[in-house]
């Protein structure tokens, strides 16, 4: 009896295995068939994929020009939802052509943080991004670009340049760009774009900063089409075509030598003129220093997503956990009297720069506030920074005093740091390997 059962089992077992195998196989087979018959999943287009990985960091996930670094950039990233573009070959107020957008993405915008993406991606990819950018504004669905007719160029000549100088005076370009094109005696200095961002009139003496290009044709195009969204208008009705070509030749002739092409004498004269300018106008120099150092990187209040809270640039509030020294929060740098630097005298601010000592006597740690570097600045630059900080509109934001740990947790933290060597201040990374 027992032998029959076991023999039966012997026969049954392979059968069960076989059936199970068939069933399983069928199951996977059927699922495979299902996927084949179901409609293809919506894959994000190539343009969107590239936009999300490359462009969204500055232009924002929705293309509104509000990515986190945009708060620090003096030239703000474009808001694609408005469909207003500066560098076009189309009439004022018109949408740009695909070629215009392609050129801006591929070649970048000189003197801004818009890279020349042609170096990093193929033309097909750039085209895909352009298509995606166009889909962000409804204007591209309803409107057609009105391309300007490029007249006959007038070649540059002394006569044309002299005529261009007259046009420069007639159109009062100096009001924004300065009588010499380099900002000297400019009247309109607080320029704003349509989004309320601060703008600086381009220095016409520095063609390497011309974002739309520096040939006479490029410059002509800027007069002809205007910069939509910025105060630079189109002069299509105001000046004749010849006048605009003369003006373009004149602007080309304004170019000065760039620093990298200067010799010793020119450099010392150039640096002396920069120092003189900084002394005469400390606020712009201070702004340049503060914005390029990136003081706002730490002295601002952030949301959880890493955005600066609107209006809280320079108002402080980023907390540094400097275990075991305590928790420190960046100070309010605005000119608010109660909570900011409003009632600090110049000498008190200088004491922080020079010795890292606050007016209440507290000594700053050597990190993360780099006062030891600021101490080595030229005196004029220190005063320029202070002069600029005074112009930041007051924001009331009370910063808590540093929280220092109690003596026991402080000693325990120091023990971990100094004896257990879990990590030390200015953490060494003792690697002596060759980079592959």
């Amino acid at each position: 009896m027992r032998s029959t059962v076991s023999r039966g089992l012997l026969i049954l077992a392979p059968c069960v295995v076989l059936v199970a195998f068939l069933l399983l196989n069928q199951e996977t087979g059927s699922t495979r068939m299902n996927t084949a018959s179901s409609p293809p999943q919506e894959t994000p287009s190539l343009g969107k994929a590239i936009f999300d990985s490359k462009c969204a960091s500055c232009h924002g996930a929705e293309g509104k020009g509000d990515g986190p670094p945009s708060m620090q950039l003096m030239v703000k990233p474009r808001d694609f939802t408005a469909g207003k573009y500066k560098f076009r070959s189309t009439e004022s107020g018109s949408i740009p052509t695909d070629e215009d957008l392609f050129k801006s993405v591929r070649e970048g915008l000189h003197g801004t943080s818009m890279p020349n993406w042609g170096k990093f991606m193929s033309d097909d990819s750039v085209n895909a991004v352009v298509e995606y950018i166009k889909s962000l504004s409804p204007r591209f669905k309803t409107e057609k670009p009105r391309v300007v007719r490029l007249g006959t160029p007038i070649p540059s000549s002394p006569a044309s340049i002299a005529a261009g100088k007259k046009v420069f005076e007639k159109l009062q370009c100096g009001q924004c760009h300065g009588t010499d094109g380099a900002g000297t005696d400019a009247v309109a200095t607080d320029l704003k774009d349509d989004w309320g961002n601060d703008l600086e009139a381009t220095h016409l003496t520095e063609p390497w900063n011309f974002r739309g290009g520096s040939t006479a044709r490029d410059i002509y195009m800027r007069f002809r089409t205007g910069l939509d969204g910025a105060p630079m208008p189109s002069y299509a009705g105001t000046a004749s075509e010849q006048e605009m070509w003369h003006l373009a030749n004149y602007v080309v002739s304004l170019a000065r030598k760039p620093m990298w092409a200067m010799n010793e004498q020119e450099l010392s004269a150039f640096f002396a003129s920069l120092d003189q300018l900084a002394k005469a106008n400390p606020v712009p120099r201070g702004k340049y220093l503060v914005e390029s150092i990136g003081c706002a990187n730490c002295h601002s209040m952030y949301t959880d997503e890493g955005f600066v809270v609107s209006g809280m640039k320079y108002a402080g509030g980023l907390t540094f956990d400097l275990y075991p020294f305590g928790t420190y929060t960046t100070r309010n740098l605005t000119s608010d009297k109660e909570t900011g630097l409003g009632d600090w005298s110049d000498e008190e601010i200088l004491l922080v720069f020079n010795e890292g000592i606050r007016k209440d006597g507290r000594k700053l740690l050597p990190f993360p506030m780099p006062w030891m570097g600021l101490a080595q600045l030229k005196d004029d630059d220190k005063h320029a920074i202070i002069a600029y900080l005074r112009t930041i509109p007051p924001v009331s934001h009370k910063i808590p005093d540093p929280e220092t740990p109690n003596i026991f947790s402080y000693l325990w933290g120091k023990f971990r740091m100094l004896v257990l060597k879990e990590s030390i201040p200015g953490p060494a990374y003792p690697m002596k390997e060759v980079q592959p």
């Binding site: 620090q72 890279p115 620093m259 010793e264 990187n297 952030y302 200015g426």
Partner: protein, 203 residues
């Protein structure tokens, strides 16, 4: 003899313990050092960093770059740590590790023109791309909260060129830095000072 030993133990042991606690308390001696002690070695390292340059124009541009690198505080992240503060002999040689949960872990690069481990392998445009756009030669964009390129992007092109000229002419230091990998995004916060830069909301 035994009595002396006992007294040494009674007096000496507390002294050793107190000394050890005082050592823990005061090292690094941020509060004890005069403030110049922080600045002087830094200033000396900045002064000594530049190699002699024959071309006077190039030297002037490099000196301007030296000043910009000083005020932009490149040193704060790009000089490796020694036992007491930064290791000034390896000025700008990189190697500080920064961890921050939202973005992962990064190690600052070697900015000296060392042929094997430094910037000598990078072309001029590739170095400038980092300053202007935060873009590595691989096309990867650095997180702006680690490397604050969004500030350096505000510099004029001439000042960026001066920084480049300076970095090309400082003393090379052999200091290999591990390459960034996608896995380092997932890194935990390090003990110190990685999580020093917490967002206010994340506390």
């Amino acid at each position: 003899m035994k009595k002396i030993f006992k007294w040494v133990l009674i007096i000496g042991l507390p002294l050793v313990v107190i000394g050890f606690l005082a050592f823990l308390y005061f090292i690094p001696p941020f509060d004890l050092l005069p403030r110049e002690a922080f600045i002087q070695p830094y200033a000396a390292a900045v002064q000594a960093s530049l190699k002699p340059i024959d071309d006077p124009a190039k030297r002037m541009i490099a000196e301007r770059g030296r000043y910009i690198v000083l005020y932009a505080d490149c040193n704060g992240c790009h000089t490796p740590g020694g036992d007491e503060g930064p290791n000034w002999d390896e000025y700008l040689a990189g190697g500080l590790k920064f961890s921050w949960k939202p973005v992962g872990t990064s190690v600052s690069r070697n900015l000296t023109p060392d042929p094997e481990t430094g910037l000598a392998q990078r072309e001029d445009d590739q170095v400038l791309d980092v300053l202007r756009y935060g873009l590595f030669h691989t096309g990867r964009q650095m997180d702006w909260t680690f490397m604050p390129w969004a500030g350096f992007a505000n510099m004029t092109q001439e000042d960026q060129y001066a920084v480049l000229t300076y970095l090309r002419n400082i003393k090379p230091v052999y200091h290999g830095i591990p390459d960034w990998t996608p896995e380092s995004r997932n890194a935990e916060n390090s003990f110190y000072p990685g999580d020093w830069a917490k967002h206010k909301g994340q506390q």
